[in-house]
Amino acid sequence: MRRYTMNIGDREFVVDVQELAADQFSVVVGGESYEVNLSADESLGEAIITPDIKSGGSVRAAAPARKEAAAKPAAAPAASAPAAASARKPAGGGGKGTQSAPMPGTIIEVNVKPGDTVERGQQVAVLDAMKMHNIIGASRAGTIAEVYVDAGQAVDHGTALLKYKEE
């Protein structure tokens, strides 16, 4: 088992990673344990990590702190517990400005980019959960401000997918 102690912003995370199999890890972050499936692991060569770089290897990770987390190995902190987001919001997110993943899975396609105008219900992404491709429809009409996820990325329930522009 390896212990990574990392500081992200002003918070410290202690991440314990235990390798169960080549692509399976048991990860403990802040007392909560997660099973992590590594779906890709590639060397990006000499690339320098900048705040905006997209994560090559996707891991089952929870929402915020995403960009900062991108550079890290197998584990990402489950910063704000997904449970908090789960109870209140209806399926499909529909929170004020952001739309979040309705269930855990892997993003297969992202169909919108910042600046796009969407109708309510229009396909914005495809989420693979339990090997089924689920179409994620826009939770409201509006303009996309930001997209937080990439194709191939694992998401947990409540992970923010995208943000709408406030009108």
């Binding site: 309705p102 339990m130 179409i135």
Partner: protein, 375 residues
Amino acid sequence: MIDQETIGLLLKGVNNVTWQSLVMIGVSFVLLYLAIVKDYEPLLLLPIGAGCLLANLPLSPLIGEEGMLVALYHMGVGNEMFPLLIFIGIGALTDFGPLLENPRLVLLGAAGQFGIFLTLILALLLGFTPNEAASIGIIGAIDGPTSIYVSGILAPHMLGPITVAAYSYMSLVPIILPPVIHLMTTKEERLIRMPYSSRKISRRTRILFPIIVTVLVGTLVPFATPLIGMLMLGNLMKESGAVERLTKASAAEIANTVTLFLGLAIGSTMVGADFLKPSTLFILVLGLLAFALDGCAGVFFAKILNWLSGGKINPIIGAAGISAFPMAARVVQRVAQEEDFENFLLMHAMGANAAGQVASVVAGGVVLALMGAGG
């Protein structure tokens, strides 16, 4: 030089063509068509169709005393080994997580097996023997290996039609299940949203689950021990992560090889005179009925749960309480999303579906126990 006898020997094949074998060759073409063109469970229907064709060619040496198809039959169908080996693979592919997150879904899996017993009674009334009736009812579980296992013990002479029915209906789940759901539910019910409840299931729970289920079910329903034991063995290998190579082999190479052998052997039992009986037609119709009734029972029970919970359970997830993992759950999700694109029932449906998988195995064991089979 060429006398009557020589000509007779040379034309032996042609002379031994019977109308039954011609019809069965036609049936094999239908199965091959369904597998190749219609993509209905091709992994099984193609080998079954091929086995059926090869067994019905005149004087086919393949079903002679030492014929390959006969050898395959004795190797793993007569003694029930093939369906059990397939079950290890199914266990290695099944994720019981959604069920463990929401254990009360077990009830839906249990409800999804009622059709089996209703059909059993109906088949008895139609004049089938108890053993035959039980084998027909089990088609309703829409669980191929369980159907093969149960009918192999109770009614080996009906193995061909029962297997074909079980696998055909399995591929027809997306066509048969939605009308059943629509018939049983109102639009308001189909619109009930069920947010995903994220509860982390510890690795220890996931590992203990298959062991506990095996001990529990094996003790309560000894006839289900072979099926549940192999299903849970596969799951234990998957969840423990300790034997990744065995897990992969069980889910891929072994399951694929056995599927080919099983299909060929089953196909070879579909020989003219035995298959072309009115009872075959009854089996197909009753099997379909068992399937529809299972779906209805699951939905009906989910309605009761919904009522008890004060409107928090969408009754359509009950339709996933039949087996046919994971297709039934996907169909339920699709029906839900047709009504409301923001409603994601998949995880709940998967839970009910995984419960249905276990319950159909238990139902198979119960049916065997009721018939006093085995020994």
